[in-house]
């Protein structure tokens, strides 16, 4: 463990953590480049660089700039947002299962989003609907699991129940929607990155810009609070403001991420835990979780496009398979 100091600021870095972050960045860049260059029409990697700077061939600029780049960028940003959201909520609930997909937040966001889709909203209105749905479902789950305090397992079980109802509401709304709305909402409901444009990436980018500083600020106090509120207070942490800020950031990130890509399940659950294992840190860490989330989602999306070609699977099916297997693995490991 080394400490970097710059004036009044200091950061603690573990060599293993830095190495893990570097490795994830390299893998993320490599996967993104593969996703950008391969497909029905192969664009060599040098052409990608030139078309990013607006000096490529028209075909390469269309394919990379209009079709593939928005999808990859949305995937990276959404993955990072889900990873961060999962890290915050897992840390708050002190439970690896306390991720937004198990707590019903993702389902709430998708219900809000579908209401906006059915009402014919724009990308920004869909984002707003998802945010509202996410906040409302968070309040509902918390309220329903409150019985003189909240136990994390009760929170998870109530979240599963509320999520099941909300998913049913989604399907009901789909049957009531007209064909065009139903088709666009139906592609979105399993979590999909196909057909994402810059208009989907920009809201997530804005939210990340706003909330990354918040995450950085609450990161260390949250680690202290995992030892219990009293210990954290004794260490000089103002518990309530930190918790409120953390909940707000976790719920908002989940909401905007769902708005952009639909309820892609399991990224928020698996990313923080996989990152923790890779960097061998004692608890979940924000930066590593965000990186891992981005890598996971882009890699899963690439696999969903290529593995069963010409059939294109929604990325949500891929992450459900990967994440569920991972969850089974954690449950098995806990036996020892």
């Amino acid at each position: 463990m080394t400490v970097l100091r710059l004036g009044p600021w200091s950061v603690r870095l573990s060599p293993r953590g830095v190495a893990a972050a570097a490795a994830m960045t390299v893998v993320g860049v490599a996967v993104s480049l593969v996703a950008l260059s391969t497909g029905e029409y192969t664009v060599p990697i040098p052409d990608i660089v030139t078309s990013v700077f607006g000096r490529g061939t028209p075909a390469a600029e269309l394919i990379v700039g209009k079709l593939r780049a928005p999808r990859v960028v949305t995937g990276l940003l959404v993955g990072a947002a889900f990873g961060l959201s999962g890290a915050i909520l897992q840390s708050l609930t002190r439970n690896p299962l306390g991720s937004p997909d198990f707590l019903g937040f993702t389902a709430g966001a998708s219900t809000g989003g579908i209401v906006a889709v059915v009402m014919g909203g724009s990308a920004w209105q869909i984002a707003a609907g998802s945010l509202l749905g996410c906040v409302a479902s968070a309040a509902l789950v918390y309220g329903l699991s409150f019985r003189g305090g909240v136990q994390s397992y009760r929170l998870v079980l109530v979240g599963i129940g509320v999520g099941a109802v909300l998913v049913s509401v989604d399907w009901y709304l789909l049957t009531r929607a007209n064909i065009h709305d139903a088709a666009s909402a139906g592609a979105w409901i399993t979590g999909s990155l196909s057909g994402r444009g810059w208009e989907h990436a920009i809201p997530v980018a804005c939210a990340l810009l706003l909330l990354l500083p918040v995450c950085a600020l609450v990161s260390r106090p949250l680690r202290m609070m995992e030892m219990g509120d009293d210990s954290a207070r004794a260490a000089g942490i103002r518990v309530e403001p930190v918790r409120a800020a953390a909940i707000a950031a976790g719920v908002l990130l989940c909401g905007v991420a769902t708005a952009a890509a639909g309820p892609v399940i399991f990224v928020a659950m698996a990313a923080p835990q996989l990152a923790r294992r890779l960097s061998r840190s004692p608890g979940v860490t924000m930066a590593a979780s965000a990186l891992m989330g981005a890598v996971l989602l882009v890699a899963a999306d690439l696999a969903a496009q290529r593995l069963f070609a010409p059939v294109q699977l929604p990325v949500g099916i891929m992450t459900a398979g990967i994440g569920g297997t991972y969850l089974v693995f954690t449950l098995r490991k806990e036996r020892r």
Partner: protein, 355 residues
């Protein structure tokens, strides 16, 4: 199967109940069972009559007794009757499977959908239909049985042998996780082929709309066999509820009862899923509701569950046809809306291990 000594042993453990009061309670429960059958018959008629093309009840009776080949009569005999009968069978099967699983695992959260068994069965069906092109229900139902048995074994192995011992929460989480994996695999397989996907996607969320009379006929024997076997296990399960040792001293084969219960659960979940897709919550909500007035005695609990689960399923199905007319909301969706609140209430309990 159910030695008389065992059957009598359980009620006599309860202190402060005179034989006369017990007889009165039994009479009341029997009368309730009869009233329930009456309600079920009414619901069956309603389910045949209500839909995107509503038919008066007198026409329903005519169509059943003296068909004349008119459009109404054809709709009733070819579509509504098979659908209603399957709803009856699937409801009874899922409720009974839930009650048996709760009794076997002593886990109040046990449910064929929640523990992933139905999703395992659904994966079996999609493998048979999507990859192997087997379209005979009497053939692909065996794949459903294999999937159900496999997932039941996996979930139980993952969820019960933990460091902290068997806990309802671990079992439920293992079930939900495996269920998600199986569900993802099923949708991936179905998406490989557009025609199959179009035909089966409603089935994958749980729907009674698909089955033809032929499917109903082919699956009925498996459903009936499962229900009969399940009901016959009431006595031995009562004895086992006292603990393995007490059960053994009352003359019940512990291993044999467990194995037969597992067979019954596999039969019930597999055939119900083959018919109507993976459904949640029926097997959770109904046994808990029934237990509030029958108590833990399986000899009342199981028959009441068999009778009231179709009431829930057919009721949900009818409601789904009414609220979205002229379309319909799949019964799987309606079941989640009705059953999930029960699950939430259970999760709010301070102590989950109440069985």
């Amino acid at each position: 199967m159910s030695p008389g000594g065992v059957v009598e042993a359980v009620p006599e453990q309860a202190p402060g109940k005179t034989p006369a009061r017990r007889a009165g309670r039994s009479a009341a429960l029997a009368a309730g069972l009869l009233a329930g059958v009456g309600a079920l018959v009414l619901l069956v008629l309603l389910s045949i009559a209500v839909g995107s093309r509503s038919v008066p009840l007198s026409t329903v009776l005519d169509a059943l007794t003296a068909p004349d080949g008119s459009t109404d009569h054809t709709v009733i005999r070819e579509l509504r009757v098979p659908r209603t009968l399957l709803g009856l069978g699937v409801g009874a099967a899922l409720g009974l499977a839930g009650a048996l699983m709760q009794s076997l695992t002593r886990n109040p959260l046990a449910d064929p959908g929640l523990l992933g068994v139905n999703y395992g069965a659904a994966l079996g069906v999609t493998v048979a239909l999507g990859l192997l092109d087997l379209s005979d229900p009497a053939v692909y139902v065996w794949f459903a049985f294999a999937g159900a048995a496999l997932s039941a074994v996996l979930v139980y192995a993952l969820g019960s042998a933990g460091r902290s011992g068997a806990s309802p929460v671990r079992l439920a989480l293992a079930g939900v996780a495996l269920g998600m994996v199986f569900h993802a695999a099923s949708s991936a397989i179905l998406r490989m082929d557009t025609a199959t996907f179009d035909r089966m996607r409603f089935w994958l969320t749980g729907s009674l709309a698909g089955p033809t009379p032929e499917i109903a006929v082919r699956l009925a024997p498996f459903l009936v066999a499962g229900v009969v076997l399940g009901l016959m296990l009431a006595g031995p399960l009562n004895a086992l509820a006292l603990g393995d040792d007490a059960g053994r001293s009352l003359g019940v084969g512990v291993g044999r009862t467990r194995a037969l219960t597992a067979v019954a659960v596999t039969l019930l979940c597999g055939s119900a899923t083959a018919a109507a897709g993976p459904l949640w919550f029926v097997g959770l909500a109904v046994p808990h509701a029934v237990r509030t007035f029958t108590g833990p005695d399986q000899r009342w609990l199981l028959p009441y569950t068999v009778m009231l689960s179709p009431v829930l399923l057919l009721g949900s199905d009818i409601l789904g046809r009414v609220i979205a007319a002229p379309g319909e909301v799949q019964v799987g969706i309606m079941c989640a809306v009705v059953g999930a609140p029960v699950f939430i209430l259970l999760a709010r309990r301070r102590r989950l291990a109440a069985l």
